[in-house]
């Protein structure tokens, strides 16, 4: 009986894991990640949500307390990232330029099913791990 229950749990967990979207590829799909951005002298953690809406991928990055760091959009046809509402701390042209390039590369990485992108030149590591949806953790 115990083995049987264990088997059911494993089966449910497998189905649940497969139900997670690693990266939104089609209209209406959404993906949620815990985000970690590691630099040489500091690191930032938070949550990132991406959604495929009207032919583009819109994303929001915010910290665990819910405070927004930035919004962005990626147009697959143009392979271009645009930033919106960047927090004042990051709202410098040279930071935004790096962020745009890195987000584009990160999106490519996520599209390939991987979670990690490293900007070797600037020594910045981006780790976006899919959030596991729990029964009461994530609302619709």
């Amino acid at each position: 009986m115990r083995k049987y229950l264990l088997l059911i749990s494993l089966f449910c967990a497998t189905i649940f894991a497969h139900a997670q979207v690693h990266f939104p590829q089609t209209e209406g799909e959404r993906a949620r990640y815990t985000a970690s951005i590691e630099m040489q002298k500091a690191h930032i953690s938070g949550i990132c949500i991406m959604a495929y809406q009207e032919g583009r991928i819109n994303g929001s990055l915010f910290n665990e307390f819910g405070i927004s760091a930035m919004d962005f959009s990626y147009v697959p046809e143009k392979d271009k990232v645009k930033l919106y509402h960047v927090i004042s701390m990051l709202n410098k042209w040279y930071i935004k330029m790096t962020l745009k390039k890195d987000l584009k590369r990160l999106i490519h990485t996520l599209q390939d099913g991987k979670n990690e992108y490293v900007n070797e030149k600037r020594h910045i590591k981006y780790i976006f791990t899919p959030l596991i949806a729990s029964e009461d953790g994530i609302a619709e």
Binding site: T34, I47, S68, S88
Partner: protein, 207 residues
């Protein structure tokens, strides 16, 4: 003439009744301050809902909060991600799946502010931050609502306003709304609130 006096009496009694039922802003402030000054500790569960305007989506996170006078706060997310913000006097400990960090709030202005605002919001002391916010308090149905508009440049860059909801029964915070400049809103609802009950000292130490 008689009718006029009757009408005047009715109107006067009605206005007196209204003023007896609703407290003035100063009275509410005093009531909340009294409770806050007597608060030695507080613990509760919380549900945080981040509403994302751009994505028309929301993320619900849950966790536990512990506060102890003076300067001790544990803000812990348990679902859907694990994250601990622990303030113990001048030190802030941050714990996530990937990192553990210790920050000295005296040397880090941003964390000093975050820690101060979080603690003051939870306890209700934000109402006294005259330099940081202009505060308008209203008496609405079964709660007091304080609208805090940031005055400082750095706060203005982040928040449009912060709204604190106080439970009328015990004058403690029941909900915090953070309205950001980009239109996003984070609502933190407190539940199972316990005031001045004993909290294990281990709660404010790092594992």
């Amino acid at each position: 003439m008689k009718k006029f006096f009757v009408l005047l009496t009715v109107l006067l009694s009605f206005s007196m009744l209204i003023s007896a039922q609703t407290l003035s802003e100063a009275q509410i402030r005093q009531k909340i301050n009294e409770v806050a000054s007597q608060m030695k500790s507080m613990q509760c569960d919380f549900t945080q809902t981040k509403n994302l305007k751009m994505l028309n989506d929301k993320l619900v996170s849950k966790g536990k909060m512990y506060y102890q006078q003076n300067n001790k706060l544990r803000w812990e997310y348990v679902s859907p991600y694990a994250y601990v913000f622990l303030l113990n006097n001048s030190k802030v400990y941050l714990k996530s799946n990937q990192h553990n960090d210790v920050i000295d709030v005296q040397q880090n202005k941003i964390f000093k502010e975050i820690a101060r605002i979080m603690m003051n919001s939870v306890v209700g002391n934000c109402l006294n931050d005259d330099k940081d916010f202009s505060v308008k308090i209203s008496d609405i149905a079964n709660e007091y609502v304080a609208n805090l508009s940031p005055l400082r440049k750095d706060m203005k860059q982040m928040f449009q306003k912060i709204i604190l909801h106080f439970n009328k029964k015990n004058s403690t915070v029941s909900m915090v709304e953070l309205v950001e400049k980009n239109g996003d809103k984070t609502v933190i609802e407190l539940s199972n609130v316990q005031i001045n009950s004993k909290i294990d000292a281990k709660v404010f130490t790092v594992d």
